[in-house]
């Protein structure tokens, strides 16, 4: 008997069929991947299983009996738990208080703490119940969410892209927890688009494309190429890049220390780095280690850098507005695409105007025709799938919105482009396109600075890496000298401090001589 069986689940939204006759079967103790690009219908399917969305057609059988789930509450009562990609935790409350708040009835706070500690020990999820959430790393927050789900002793656990927030070193521990849980009879649905993980963890895999099931396979028997064929229909072309020595220094950050602007932000401590023309420098690190604060200081959203601390082509950027920096050739694509890189409710044409000044005529009048043309050109050049320049930004999928934002910045041919999490939540096809574009900009002689949590991505595109941990930046490491193990160690802040300044000096001197920074093949 199946723990969960879906038959012909169909869900239509105006203009799009999110799920089209989806079948899925899950046995107790099975770990099944649900693989698909963004917009393939994974989220809708999970919401159907979790009772948050009612399907238009199809049947859902739970332990053999057909049922209709009216709400997540009903799903939880059956033993279905879900860990979302974005956490819902109160920063100022303790771990135990957060978990206790979410419980529907019953135990006292002390009992909850005890049960959490016991469960944590059982599944290898150590957590101190009394710690305030704002002191936790992202990985620890995820543990809170998983523990919260486990407290209900679920029969089915759904995880939505759980590794997107984890350091590589934390992933094996998560997998071990999930396997232990499965051995205890809990069925697991693992939503992801990362092929390696799916192959490492899951014994079965349902692949979705455009709302339909394109395959139900054993991922351990498949290659990455065959899985991505099922997922996107074609294999992405391999990346190519030009070998070139780096040019003049473009961005220089000297001994920058800053207290954070926001509560629970990260203080920057003695940050130094430099980026040269024709190179792509990667900033590795788990989010929340000061990347956000550093990039805001570079983009000018936080203009508090001291005199001489940040220089762009020799211009001191102290107090310079984001607009002034853009004039000097800086482009920036932040990790929040909705609400920061774009205004959700405004049209794509209006959003083009956030960083582009071409359609502004004398006296501040807008040339609406020119603006629409510019936007339409961006949409076609950068293959953004949208209804047109008038479509509101929030109507685009994550990947398409990122293509739009990056296209807007790339099209202005920046001398230095700073990108944060370029492919976060972006599907495989769009990710490949975005990486290719970043490399093309580098090949054309601009400098590119990429902050990413995805180490594979950085190893694929960077010329050199620095690591950020606890508000500090490591010495720079040319890619051919870097290994995943070493970067993994540095991610926890353990790089040789004493040698740091010497190594940085040697590194830049060598780079200036054009001997290092040669691209990694």
């Amino acid at each position: 008997m199946f723990r969960l069986e879906l038959q012909g689940i169909t869900k239509r939204y105006p203009g799009v069929t999110a799920n089209d006759g989806v079948n899925l079967q899950l046995r107790p103790g099975e770990i099944r991947a649900v693989l698909g690009e963004n917009g393939a219908g994974k989220s809708t399917l999970m919401k159907v299983i979790y009772g948050a969305v009612q399907p238009d057609a199809g049947e859902l059988r739970w332990n053999g009996t057909a049922l209709e789930l009216g709400s997540p509450r009903a799903a939880r009562a059956l033993g279905i738990a879900m860990v979302f990609q974005h956490f819902a935790l109160f920063e100022s409350l303790s771990v135990a208080q957060n978990v206790w708040l979410g419980l529907e009835r019953g135990p006292t706070l002390a009992e909850t703490s005890q049960r959490m500690t016991a469960l944590g020990a059982e599944y290898g999820l150590p957590l101190e119940p009394a710690r305030p959430v704002h002191t936790l790393s992202v990985g620890e927050r995820q543990r809170v969410e998983i523990l919260r789900a486990l407290l209900a002793t679920p029969q089915l656990l759904i995880l939505d892209e759980p590794t997107s927030v984890l350091a590589p070193s934390a992933i094996p521990a998560l997998f071990e927890t999930l396997r232990r849980l499965a051995r205890g009879g809990c069925a697991i649905l693992y939503v992801s688009h990362k092929l390696d993980e799916v192959r490492a963890l899951c014994e079965s895999c349902t692949v979705l494309r455009a709302g339909r099931v394109t395959g139900s396979v054993d991922p351990r028997q498949e290659s990455n190429a065959s899985l991505s064929r099922l997922m996107i229909g074609v294999e992405p072309a391999p990346l190519s890049r030009r070998e070139q020595p780096p040019g003049e220094v473009c961005l220089e950050v000297e001994a920058l220390s800053r207290t954070p602007l926001e509560p629970f932000g990260v203080a920057l401590r003695d940050v130094s780095l430099r980026v040269q023309r024709g190179e792509l420098l990667g900033i590795a690190g788990v989010s929340g280690n000061g990347q956000r604060e550093l990039l805001a200081l570079l983009s000018g959203e936080d203009a508090r850098s001291g005199p001489g601390q940040v220089r762009l082509f020799g211009h001191d950027l102290a107090g310079a507005s984001p607009a002034r920096r853009r004039e000097l050739g800086l482009g920036f694509a932040p990790e929040e695409r909705l609400g920061r890189a774009t205004v959700p409710s405004l049209s794509l044409a209006q959003n083009t105007l956030l960083t582009r000044r071409e359609p502004i005529r004398r006296g501040g009048w807008l040339d609406l025709g020119a603006l629409r043309q510019l936007c339409a050109r961006l949409l076609s050049t950068y293959a953004v799938r949208a209804q047109g320049p008038d479509a509101p930004a929030r109507s685009l999928s994550g990947g398409n919105l990122q293509k739009f934002v990056l296209g807007r910045e790339l099209d202005a041919t920046p001398q230095l482009l700073i990108v944060s999490q370029p492919t976060w939540g972006v599907d495989v096809g769009a990710s490949a396109q975005i990486r290719r574009q970043l490399l093309a900009l580098r090949d054309a002689g601009s400098a590119v600075l990429v902050a990413s949590e995805d180490l594979d991505e950085l190893f694929e595109i960077s010329d050199a890496l620095v690591v950020m941990a606890g508000g500090r930046v490591s010495p720079r490491l040319p890619l051919r000298e870097a290994s995943v193990d070493q970067i993994g160690e540095w991610l926890s802040g353990l790089w040789p401090r004493a040698a740091a300044s010497a190594a940085a000096a040697a590194g830049t001197a060598a780079a200036a001589a054009g001997t290092t920074g040669a691209p990694h093949a």
Partner: protein, 361 residues
């Protein structure tokens, strides 16, 4: 079981239909109210919706009431769109009246016709000054603009009261707390002789057009819009939030001040303690009912002046309290906010829902 569901895209029909639905529901509830008070509901509603439009004189009166509401509503739209919550238009209106009166009291029967322009300028400056205090407090000391602008209304009332009882009291006015009547040269010209309608109404309509043009067609309008919708995006784009704050405050102050000067040099003709008639607070309702859009504000300012006139008529003809006006206004805003839920959501009938939730418990 009925259930609210998010729509995939906001409904355009609901966007424009919601104010009409709200109006219908308001009329319905007020009709019930009339019936409860023992009056004929149709007769009562006619006072609000038909009488104010029934004759040339009534229309002129309507334009006199709608003009300050339209001007102030426009200013508040600019402010609210930029996410600056200036609720003290009433105070800025009073300062506008004081500024206009200050100039008008200097007029003699022989002054040139340019003097009217100076009266309006004085009023505008008065409103700007009062709103600048709000912007300053927020900018320098991060004081809530809601509280500061609201409290400045009471300061403005006291200032007005001091002026009409002290330095500006009419020496020939039998000690009544009011200023001398302005010279004819300082009065706002009428549109037609014998009608109460003055040039304020076309003035306000032009202002609505300018607002529409600036908000749709200029970069400055765009910067304000972005600052209000998504402050993080404005920071990212490099649009100054301080500039947005000052612009929003000063523009709404200027519009309110202008409205005050038009009122005192138009229908009133002298400065009295009765200048503040609540237009500044009604204008908040006008701005929201008008969807923070210039065209919408034109319509809503007319509608709310109909309520105003209807309330007065209900008092004189049916012997009902004038507070009916406030009830109409309050109900309309309340019902509108409720109806706006339907823009992003829709009601759906889910026959299976009751069964499933029973099964789960």
């Amino acid at each position: 079981m009925l259930r609210l569901e998010l729509r995939a895209a906001p409904s355009r029909l609901a966007l424009y239909g919601s104010p009409l639905l709200a109006l219908a529901l308001t009329a319905l509830s007020c009709g019930c109210l009339f019936a409860l008070l023992g009056k004929d509901p149709l007769q009562g509603l006619a006072l609000f919706f038909i009488q104010p439009l029934s004759s040339g004189r009534a229309l002129a009166e309507l334009s006199v009431k709608a003009t300050p509401l339209l001007l102030m509503g426009l200013g508040l739209c600019v402010s609210y769109r930029a996410n600056v919550w200036n609720v003290g238009a009433e105070g800025q209106f009073i300062l506008g009246a004081i500024g206009g009166a200050g100039v008008a009291l200097e007029a003699t029967p022989h002054s040139g016709s340019y003097l009217v322009a100076l009266v309006l300028l004085g009023g505008t400056l008065g409103g700007v000054l009062w709103a600048a205090l709000v912007a300053l407090a927020r900018d320098r000391w991060n004081a809530s603009e809601i509280l500061v602008s609201l409290m400045l209304v009471y300061v403005a009332e006291q200032l007005l009261s001091y002026l009409v009882q002290g330095p500006w009291r009419d020496p020939a006015g039998y000690n009544f707390p009011q200023s001398a009547t302005f010279a004819a040269t300082a009065r706002i010209p009428r549109l037609l002789s014998g009608s109460r309608a003055n040039i304020g109404a076309p003035f306000a309509l032009c202002a609505a057009f300018v607002c529409w043009l600036v908000s749709r067609r200029t970069h400055a309008g765009f910067r304000l819009l972005v600052g209000g919708l998504a402050p993080a995006a404005a920071r990212y784009a490099g649009f100054s939030s301080r500039a947005a704050l000052w612009t929003a405050c000063l523009v709404s102050g200027a519009f309110s001040g202008l409205a005050g000067a038009l009122e005192v040099a138009g229908p009133l003709g002298q400065l009295t303690p009765y200048v503040p008639a609540g237009y500044g607070f009604t204008a908040i309702v006008v701005a929201f009912v008008g969807r923070l859009e210039p065209v919408g504000v034109i319509l809503s300012s007319v509608l709310l002046s109909m309520f105003h006139i209807g309330g007065e008529l209900a008092q004189s003809r049916l012997g009902l309290p004038k507070a009916l006006t406030s009830i109409f206004q309050g109900l309309l805003l309340f019902v509108l906010l409720a109806c706006d839920t339907l823009i992003e959501r829709r009601l759906r009938w889910l026959p299976g829902l009751g069964r499933a939730s029973r099964a789960s418990t």
